[in-house]
Structure formats: structure tokens, C-alpha cells
């Protein structure tokens, strides 16, 4: 964490005590001030966007994996299908489940980073008085 612009030369050696880390009194770890009203409204947009993204992808996993036991139980013939000598449940759970999970995770990282970039851009615009007039409408940070 190199967040302190005040000491250009080598930072002093400090003792970090767990209890301080825990209570968040370590200077580098907290925001300089409490967020303003506008900042907070923008943050609520970001939190909503990130949560909506996470929930949507969780639903994808729940439908993709969670429906399988039900399928196997309700339609045993589905579980008896054989591809290249291997039963379908073995292929789905033994191999394909992992690339599926990694794919969902990759999508999440990409979209979550994008949400944060949008949010950061909005915050900077909000904090820069010269540019505030240019943007009459403040776009919302939304998951796309």
C-alpha cells in the first residue's frame, strides 16, 4: 500500500500491530474523509450493480449445476446417455463442470472491473468542478 504522498523518500519502518490493523486505525487503510452525499449515492449505484452482476451469475451456476441432480432423478434415461463409452453424468460432473465454473468466474472479473472503472470515472467527474457543468445528465453506474 503506497498511499501516502507526503514522504517521497524511503518510508519509515513501522511496527504493524494486529489489533491496529483490526480496528482499522492504520492510516493507509481508511478513507481520508467520510464520503459526501453525492459520493454515497454513486456508491449505492455501484453496490447495486455489483450485487446484481454477482446474483445473475450465481443464478447461471444454480441453473447450470443445481438442476442436474433433479434431472438425473426425474429422468434416469438422461443419466444413462453414453458419449464415447462414458456416461453423461461422469462427463458433466467429472470434467465439464470445471471449465464452466472458470468461464463464469472470468466473466465476473471482467464485468466487475468494468463497473468499478465506470464508478471511478463518475466520481472523478463529480470531484472536478470544471467538468461538472459539461455533463448535465449524470449517468448511473449500472451493470451492463
Amino acid at each position: 500500500m503506497t498511499t501516502s504522498p507526503t514522504d517521497p523518500e524511503r518510508p519509515e519502518r513501522t511496527r504493524i500491530v494486529l489489533a491496529e490493523v483490526a480496528s482499522g486505525t492504520h492510516a493507509a487503510d481508511r478513507p481520508a474523509t467520510s464520503p459526501s452525499e453525492v459520493q454515497d449515492i454513486l456508491l449505492r449505484g455501484l453496490v447495486r450493480a455489483q450485487l446484481a452482476l454477482a446474483l445473475r451469475l450465481a443464478v447461471v451456476v444454480l441453473v447450470g449445476l443445481g438442476s442436474l441432480p433433479l434431472f438425473f432423478a426425474l429422468a434416469p434415461s438422461f443419466g444413462a446417455v453414453t458419449i464415447a463409452g462414458v456416461r453423461l453424468p461422469w462427463i458433466l460432473l467429472g470434467v465439464l463442470a470445471y471449465p464452466f465454473l472458470i468461464g463464469v468466474g472470468t466473466a465476473f472479473v471482467r464485468f466487475a472491473n468494468r463497473n468499478e472503472r465506470d464508478f471511478a470515472a463518475l466520481q472523478r467527474r463529480e470531484n472536478d468542478p470544471n467538468r461538472r457543468d459539461e455533463s448535465r445528465e449524470i449517468p448511473r453506474a449500472r451493470g451492463r
Binding site: M1, T3, S4, R13, T14, R15, I16, V17, L18, A19, E20, V21, A22, S23, G24, H26, A28, D29, R30, P31, A32, S34, P35, Q39, L43, L46, V47, Q50, A54, L57, A58, V61, L65, G66, P69, L70, F72, A73, P76, G79, A80, R87, P89, W90, L93, G94, A97, Y98, P99, L101, I102, V104, G105, V109, A112, N113, E116, F119, A120, Q123
Partner: protein
């Protein structure tokens, strides 16, 4: 069963663990070095370390054994163990890192500012940690007994002593290197023999897997099997984020975005690893069918020698697998002990000094070792699954609601942890001490997650709504800290 390479292989893993730990000790100077590896660990190193720490005896030995014995239904264990990292990535990773919390008790204090909740969380961290440590230590004893005929206590004491010394004297930086090394060792130890097994299977004319139909087919035994499957899914999907030794690692990421990247890499590493236990379980049906009815946990250890033969190659492969198994015990136990010692040092001894951490490590390591030597007959995979259920019913709701819902209060969180986590812990204790309830209640106790996780969420939300006046005054500031990118924070 006297393979001359087994003892040197186990000795090499143990010495390498101590050696890398010592190398790390020379680098570790301050308390922060000791505890958080100075946050200079790169995502790849960190991800390898998380993977190394996560893949325990249950993954290395237990999963293949379960598949050998019970068949396709057991594939949900590895899938769930991997999917847990996706849940962690989606709901927890980046905000948890940004919270600055090093342990779960820290998170309670940062988010809700309550020291009493902190103590409660400490209790659950220690409970889950010990619950998870006992089968690791026992697995070591069983492995050494199976392979060399040594008495049961030798392996347990060996692993207990090596891990305690390494954690007490090396701290976390050393542990990061050790864990990362052990992930790659474990992957190699399963993958290389697996390649030889597959080649051998082809040369043998690709014999079919002799197995009954119910082993090949997913269970359709009515609602009972289905309930267990879904309960297991819930426990493993949501339990990973509540495991104390997993969360400690997140603090070593430089920022929230790096925490996300690290988690994604872990998902890839863990997913790659889990391709192999399935193979051992299936091929075990051909060459070690008698294990399906007996000590199925030994299939990974015995299969290479049994299939390839007693020649030099078979012995070398057997030694490699034994080394991997020992790496599994050492790494998971080290990670758990680091987490347990961390909370014991700060929250019970009340000091953050290196000395307190060392005392805590020795105490935290001694208790599960004594338990492991006195309570025998625990099933490795089952106990680990129960630890997931407790974590999913206590810390998962705390983290998810704490990160995404401003309305969470300290009383609500405490009520949810006590009711949900308490119910899961009670079920676990009943199961561990062999109490079997009749009829449908039995299944509710042996696979508790399906009812304890929703219960914990419901109580936490309900009790928080009833105590809204206790919402922390700094909730706006804390939410900004959890969710805003770090670049916006430092002005």
C-alpha cells in the same frame, strides 16, 4: 508392502517444508512480515499458496476413495469444493480485501464495531479450525501406518510437530512459499502417476470398468438422496468463504482487483487438480476393487503400485503419491494453524506480538493433536464436509450480509451466528460422537447445511430488522471502503 522409496519421499517433503520455512524466516523481520507477508505476494504465488493450503487430505485421498466406493454421486464433493471459490469470488473477494480485515473477527470489528461479536467469531474460527485439523493429523497417521506399518501415532505426531514448529518460527511469509510449493507438488504427485495409469490402461487393452449400474448412475432413490446431494452442494458452495485459513490469504493481496484475479486463478488451479481424483476412483474399480468395500481412502496410495506392478516404476510412483499425501497434510494443517494461532494471539492472549503468535501456535497445534490421538474412527471426508457446513451456517451469512446489506447490526449478526452456526455445530458434534437419530431426522443431522444455512440467513436478517437503531454510525464510510476502488480512497 515395503517400498524402499516411501520414507525418503516423506522425509524429503518434510525437510523441504522446514527448509523453505527457514528461508522465509530469514526474510521475516517485523510483525507485518510475519503475519501478512508484507502484502508483496504476487497473485500467482498467492493463488498457488491458497490452492496448496486448500487441497487437504480430504481432496487428495478422500475424494477418490468416495468415488471408488459410492460412484458418480460423490463427484459433487470436488465440484462443490471448486464452486466454493466461485461463490467467494462473486460475493466476497474484493470487498473483503478492501475491508483490511486479516481474520473473520477483524471483519466483525471493522464492519460492525462490536468487540463481543468479535469474541463470538473467534470462538467459531477456533472450532472450525480444530474440526478441520483433527482429520488432517489423523490422515497422516493412517497414511504412514498403511504404507510402512508404523504405529498410528507416529505420522500424527510427525505432522503435528513439523506444522507447529514451522508456523511458530516462520510465520506467514514462510508459509506462503511453503504452500505454493506444496500445491505444485500435490498436482505433480497425482498427475504423473495418472498419466502412467492411463498408458497402462491402454496397453492392457482398455479393460471396461467393472461396476454395478447404481455406481455408474446418479442416485434416483427418492427424496432422501436428493436432499443429501443438495445439502452437500449448499455446504461446499457456501462454506469455502467461511473457512478461516482461506480468508487469511486475502489480506496478502495488494488490492481488491488483485484479490479477484487471485481467486480466479485459484479456481483454475483447484479445478485442474480435481480432474485427477475422479480418474483414481474409476481406475481403482479395475485394479483395487477390494478397497471399495474396505479402506477406500487408501486407493490413491495403493493404486499406482497395484496397477503398474511391483517393479521400480511402481515403487517410484507409489513414493511420489505418498509424498503428495504428506504435502496435503502439512499444507492444510499449516494454513489452519496459522489462522487459529492468529486469532488466539490477538483475541485470547490480547497482544499482536510475535511472541504471542508463537505461544498461540504451540497451544493451537497441541489441542487437535491430542484430540486426534484419542478420538479415532473419524471419516476424513465426512468431518471435512461437516466443517464446511458449520462455516456455511455461520460466517457465510455474516460476510454476505455484511458486505452487501447496510441494515446488518451486531445483534442480528450474533443471533444468526449463534442460531445457525450453533445448530450446525450441534449436528456436527452429534455426528462425530456417533449419535444416530432415527428416520428422516438422521439425514437432517448428518447433512445439516440445507436447513441451517437458510436458518442462519433468516435469523440474521430478522434480528437485524428488529434492532435497526444499532446500525453502526459509520456504515456509509465502511461501505465506501469495502466497495470503492482503492484509487479513489487515497486523496
Amino acid at each position: 508392502m515395503t517400498n524402499p522409496f516411501i520414507l525418503p519421499a516423506i522425509g524429503f517433503v518434510t525437510l523441504a517444508t522446514l527448509g523453505i520455512g527457514f528461508y522465509g524466516l530469514r526474510l521475516a523481520r517485523t510483525t507485518s512480515d510475519f503475519l501478512v507477508a508484507s502484502r508483496m505476494v504476487s497473485p500467482t504465488w498467492n493463488a498457488s499458496a491458497i490452492g496448496g493450503e486448500y487441497l487437504s487430505a480430504a481432496s487428495f485421498l478422500g475424494v477418490a476413495g468416495l468415488i471408488l466406493r459410492y460412484g458418480v454421486d460423490m463427484l459433487w464433493y470436488p465440484v462443490g469444493f471448486a464452486a466454493g471459490y466461485l461463490a467467494l469470488l462473486l460475493f466476497v473477494a474484493a470487498p473483503l480485501r478492501r475491508s483490511g480485515a486479516f481474520t473473520l473477527p477483524d471483519f466483525c470489528e471493522v464492519r460492525l464495531g462490536s468487540t463481543r461479536l468479535r469474541k463470538l467469531a473467534t470462538g467459531f474460527v477456533v472450532f472450525i479450525g480444530w474440526l478441520y485439523l483433527v482429520p488432517q493429523v489423523q490422515g497422516a497417521g493412517l497414511t504412514l501406518a498403511t504404507l510402512t506399518g508404523a504405529p498410528f501415532w507416529v505420522g500424527s505426531v510427525l505432522v503435528g510437530a513439523v506444522v507447529t514448529a514451522n508456523v511458530a518460527f516462520g510465520g506467514m511469509r514462510a508459509i506462503t512459499f511453503v504452500q505454493a510449493f506444496q500445491y505444485w507438488l500435490k498436482l505433480t504427485a497425482l498427475a504423473v502417476p495418472a498419466i502412467f495409469l492411463l498408458l497402462h490402461w491402454r496397453n492392457a487393452g482398455q479393460p471396461p470398468v467393472p461396476a454395478p449400474e447404481e455406481w455408474l448412475l446418479a442416485s434416483d432413490s427418492g427424496t432422501g438422496g436428493l436432499f443429501s446431494t443438495y445439502s452437500l452442494m449448499l455446504a461446499t458452495f457456501l462454506g469455502t468463504m467461511g473457512l478461516p485459513h482461506v480468508l487469511v490469504r486475502f489480506y496478502t493481496n495488494p488490492d481488491g482487483a488483485a484479490a479477484r484475479r487471485t481467486t480466479l486463478v485459484v479456481l483454475g488451479l483447484v479445478g485442474t487438480f480435481y480432474l485427477f481424483p475422479t480418474l483414481y476412483g474409476v481406475l481403482g474399480r479395475i485394479w483395487t476393487p477390494e478397497l471399495a468395500e474396505g479402506r477406500s481412502d487408501a486407493v490413491v496410495l495403493l493404486l499406482p503400485g497395484r496397477a503398474v506392478g511391483d517393479g521400480l516404476l511402481g515403487e517410484l510412483l507409489g513414493a511420489l503419491v505418498a509424498a503428495g499425501a504428506f504435502a496435503a497434510f502439512l499444507s492444510t494443517a499449516s494454513g489452519l494453524l496459522t489462522a487459529v494461532a492468529g486469532v488466539l494471539a490477538t483475541d485470547v492472549l490480547g497482544r499482536g506480538s510475535v511472541r504471542a503468535f508463537r505461544i498461540a501456535a504451540v497451544c493451537g497445534g497441541a489441542v487437535p493433536l491430542v484430540l486426534a490421538l484419542h478420538i479415532t474412527g473419524l471419516n476424513v471426508s465426512q468431518v471435512v464436509g461437516l466443517a464446511f457446513a458449520v462455516a456455511a451456517s455461520s460466517f457465510c451469512p455474516l460476510l454476505v450480509l455484511g458486505i452487501w446489506w447496510r441494515g446488518l447490526t451486531d445483534l442480528g449478526a450474533a443471533a444468526g451466528i449463534l442460531v445457525g452456526g450453533g445448530a450446525a455445530a450441534g449436528s456436527v458434534l452429534l455426528t462425530v460422537f456417533g449419535v444416530v437419530l432415527p428416520g428422516p431426522f438422521g439425514e437432517l443431522i448428518t447433512e445439516p447445511a440445507a436447513w441451517t444455512v437458510p436458518l442462519a440467513f433468516a435469523v440474521m436478517v430478522g434480528a437485524s430488522l428488529a434492532t435497526q437503531h444499532r446500525v453502526p454510525a459509520d456504515v456509509r464510510q465502511v461501505m465506501f471502503r469495502l466497495h470503492a476502488p482503492e484509487a479513489l480512497r487515497a486523496r
